[in-house]
């Protein structure tokens, strides 16, 4: 029983799932510090909480994971709106990433937040910010 409980606790743990998924990204994301953004909606007033302007530099690899239904125009407009540097990546969430997002986002209010995950150069999560 304890084993089953431990197993379910593990697979519903946001940090565990994130680290597992980050490892799958490949070594280039774990050799230097990485900023991972989960972007759900951005035209809200709490948007400035995530200080991309202050964090963007060459010491971080930055990966924006946007929702699956973002069109090419959406991605282009997103990059233009936030002046995202050309070598920072924007990808649509895969099913696996979407599952991780849903686990991390689970809240009583049912609000879909954006997340900023700061990862160190060994692939460990330093901080998760919700905005």
């Amino acid at each position: 029983m304890a084993v089953v409980f431990y197993y379910f606790a593990k697979i519903n743990n946001c940090i565990y799932l994130l680290e597992k998924q980050i490892r799958k990204l490949g070594p280039q994301y774990t050799e230097i510090g990485t900023l991972l953004y989960f972007i759900n909606e951005v035209n809200t007033l709490c948007r400035p909480c995530a200080k991309y302007e202050q964090l963007k530099n060459d010491y971080f690899r930055v990966l924006f994971l946007v929702k699956k239904d973002y069109s090419d125009h959406d991605i282009e407009n997103f990059a233009h709106s936030f002046k995202i540097l050309p070598h920072h990546e924007i990808q649509r969430m895969t099913d696996a990433w979407e599952h991780v997002y849903k686990v991390c986002n689970s809240n009583r209010r049912g609000i879909n937040y954006n997340f900023l995950i700061i990862i160190d150069d060994k692939g460990k999560i330093i901080e998760i910010r919700r905005f």
């Binding site: 951005v42 035209n43 007033l45 948007r47 069109s71 125009h73 407009n77 997103f78 233009h80």
Partner: protein, 345 residues
């Protein structure tokens, strides 16, 4: 005294009394009292949970956005329920906290928390795209959609129907952010530049709701003219408050948002402005009609008396005309009991 004598005396009296008429009297002569013709909802299938944003199509069907129910109610011109468009969600055809709505070219354009959705008039989903900054207003045209939103210092942005951004124009108000302690710059920009975009054939008007400035642009984004609505105390107070005095966030998140008008609408060469309750009470009027060419107030309409105006929370205005050519004013409001759409004429 015969008739000729009386007419002569009358003319002499008018000649001497005319200069005694003040400009206020002349202005009062332009004030028209409108009467309530119809009030919605009149159908048990429709119950608004908040004051709806409204739009009309050519057949005078009403499209009312209920922000809390995440749907658009389609009603016929008599208020009879036709259909519900959308449902809560973020997928294609879904709406999440929708608010701004506009009908143009047999399509419905509705803005929600995450995106702009386009439906046909039957409610079938056509397209959806995102704009990434808090929206202020939207105005669709035959091949483009103009958005008012602050992005990279510009305020008006043109997109095609697929969400491809075409160009930007119009500068936001520049303000000294130091006088706003405790507020983020982005939030201040959004509050100060609040207003309404109006599409008028060959022009785009942007009217700011705090300061009553009217900017007229051509469709390529060149500024044609800029004018301030006839200055009154209300606008002057706002300018002094927002540009000189500023505001301090006391931790309660309350921002003094003293809007001159709630909504504006362009119809047949006229700009109609639905005054907010405080502004309406300061001059005793509810709707101003401005001429497109002179941008001056040419008619003033009264819907409520002072006590009614204090109770009513106005939101949205659409103007059209009936078969006799008389203007009909569709106003959505909260009358301290219910959320309703009233038609005045």
């Amino acid at each position: 005294m015969n008739m000729r004598c009386r007419a002569f005396l009358g003319l002499i009296c008018l000649f001497f009394l005319a200069p005694l008429l003040t400009s206020q009297d002349v202005e009062k002569a332009l004030v028209h009292r409108l009467n309530l013709a119809l009030s919605f909802p009149r159908d048990e299938n429709v119950f608004f949970q908040t004051t709806p944003f409204i739009a009309l199509d050519n057949e005078r069907n009403i499209y009312a956005v209920d922000n809390r129910q995440h749907v658009i109610f389609k009603l016929d011109s008599n208020g009879k329920f036709i259909s519900k468009i959308g449902r809560k969600g973020q997928g294609p055809g879904d709406l999440e906290w929708p608010w701004l709505i506009s009908v143009w070219n047999k399509a419905i354009f509705v803005a929600d928390n995450t995106s702009i959705s386009i439906f046909d008039l039957q409610g079938n989903f056509r397209n959806k795209f995102r704009t990434f900054h808090p929206l202020i207003s939207l105005a669709p045209t035959d091949d483009k959609i103009f958005f008012a939103q602050i992005e990279n210092g510009k305020i008006i942005h043109a997109y095609d129907y697929n969400g491809n951004k075409l160009y930007s124009f119009g500068n936001k108000y520049s303000v000294d952010y130091v006088i706003y302690r405790g507020w983020s710059n982005g939030a201040i920009d959004n509050w100060l530049n609040a207003g309404k975009l109006l599409y008028a054939g060959s022009r785009i008007y942007f009217i700011t709701s705090l300061f009553g400035d009217i900017f007229a642009y051509d469709l390529k984004g060149n500024l044609i003219s800029q004018k301030r609505m006839e200055t009154n105390e209300f606008i002057e107070k706002n300018r002094a408050l927002y540009f000189k005095k500023g505001m301090v966030n006391k931790g309660d998140g309350a921002f003094f948002h003293n809007k001159l008008f709630e909504d504006a609408y362009y119809y047949q060469g006229k700009i109609f402005v639905l005054l907010s309750s405080p502004a309406g009470n300061s001059c005793g009027e509810d709707i101003w009609q401005l001429d497109e060419k002179t941008l001056k107030i040419e008619k003033r309409y009264v819907l409520f008396n002072k006590t009614q105006r204090d109770k009513n929370w106005l939101r949205s205005l659409v103007v059209t005309s009936d078969h006799t050519g008389n203007n009909l004013f569709y106003v959505s409001l909260y009358d301290s009991k219910d959320f309703v759409i009233n038609i005045y004429k």
